[in-house]
Symmetry: C2
Subunit: 276 residues, 2 copies
């Protein structure tokens, strides 16, 4: 037992996850959201936006590996990649492990998230200074509509569908993303917990189906996200999941492997029914 | 928001999961443990032993389907099956879906768990009155050592490795189980969270390897168990995972399918390293 300081995430009105806090490292009201960084006994440092856990030192690799390596290993030659949201830099770090990548664009609306990650999560932000990376501090919806062209992969690494991320979950935005993708382009978007947010999962799938000829869903086990089971919507103009291309680069990972990727597309009926 | 009555599970000294409580339905100190039944907004009725969530109406199917159908679909002809622990009856209910099963034995040390499940979780306890079922209210370690012979599948559906279940996690007990199994016999044992209890997962795997020629591990996503990712140790005298036999019966499930079963044996490196 330690000191009785706790951070509690309200996962719903009726479920809370509480982590014992060693120290509150940073607290800030940005123009977009409440930003909090705490150090915890169980998960190390934790980045929290508007009360919701975004990433922790101890389990961040699961989410970041799975949001990045799945589309990048399925696209035949992912040279130009963009991340919408994802200001912590974790998705960018994983993207840069693919030697085909020539440009990685981070499009984060809240510069303070990037600053907090650089300061408190240097291992997660590690890729942000890579010469292949361009950071755009701007609204992702506007950037995709007005500036993005000929991308191979666009990853939507957003917060929950309340607040600044609300319009990142739906057909109009996916249509705009499709226009910004080249002919083999792939979109992957985090789409919440199938047990707690089944309607959101359905909405993402429906939105993707309205826009992309190839649509699917995969899951990953993220300990600090509500229910521990997370979904990702997958939309593609051509390349089909789940198998990585045979020449995909080898690099060190702790969750993703080509076989884990294939298994992640095998859905229990309780999840599969949300894709119809 | 509702009334501010909460049940909190201490998942570790530093992590708590809290569920808003609609009603406390039952509370009892049995000869073996503290038994609590609450009705919650998020997960329906919840069975709690010594402060640890055992089963909830809303997500019980994941654990019970995965602990039962994996060994029963891999064994070539599972006629005699035993469950050690599992007094709620959920594993028995799933076992009875396999038409090959002639005898299903429930070996629960605490009769009060069975009584509470019959009263408060009738859909989970539904199989307990089936004519194929025999209930033994006794110590599972003693029963396996002294009474069990020629079983096809033995399932260890225990509480955490503290209190009455402590000796169910280790090589001496697995050796006794192996002696109680027929030539194609299979043991499956729940073995906790790989993120929170990696040493326990390793201990189960080592214990199984000391006894069985075929040893493996599979996972399932159980929302109300710590970290949401759960492991099961698999030991067999012959039949090899992960594929179900081609003639396995078809029945309604919400998590398990033959394909989900195969995917459940594909391990992320962070879990796979615990099997070596």
């Amino acid at each position: 037992m330690g000191r009785e300081v706790w951070f509690s995430e309200w996962q719903t009105d009726d479920v809370k996850l509480s982590l014992r806090v060693k120290a509150v490292l940073w607290e800030e009201k940005t123009p977009y959201q409440e930003l909090l960084v705490v150090d915890t006994d169980a998960y190390g440092r934790v980045l929290i936006l508007d009360g919701a856990i975004q990433t922790t030192e101890r389990d961040e690799f699961v989410y970041h590996e799975m949001i990045a390596h799945v589309p990048l290993s399925i696209h035949p030659r992912p040279r130009r990649v963009a991340v919408i949201g994802g200001g912590d830099g974790g998705a960018i770090r994983e993207i840069l492990k693919h030697p085909e990548v020539e440009e990685a664009h981070l499009v984060e609306i809240d510069e303070r998230v990037i600053a907090a990650s650089r300061r408190f999560f240097p291992a997660i932000a590690a890729g942000l200074d890579d010469p292949r990376v361009t950071i755009h501090v701007t609204d992702g919806i506007r950037w995709v509509a007005e500036e993005a062209r000929d991308f191979d992969v666009i990853i939507v690494d957003s917060t929950d569908p309340v607040g600044p991320a609300e319009n990142l979950f739906g057909e109009p935005f996916y249509r705009s993303v499709a226009a910004a993708l080249g002919p083999d382009g792939i979109l992957v978007a985090q789409s919440e917990s199938p047990l707690l947010e089944p309607e959101l999962v359905r909405r993402v799938q429906r939105g993707l189906r309205a826009v992309f000829p190839v649509v699917s869903l995969y899951t990953a086990a993220v300990a600090t996200y509500p229910t521990g089971l997370w979904t990702f919507g997958f939309g593609s103009k051509g390349p089909r999941p789940p198998r990585p291309r045979p020449d995909v680069a080898r690099f060190a990972t702790r969750y993703w492997t080509p076989a884990v990727q294939e298994a992640a597309f095998v859905l229990p009926p309780m999840v599969e029914e949300l894709t119809r």
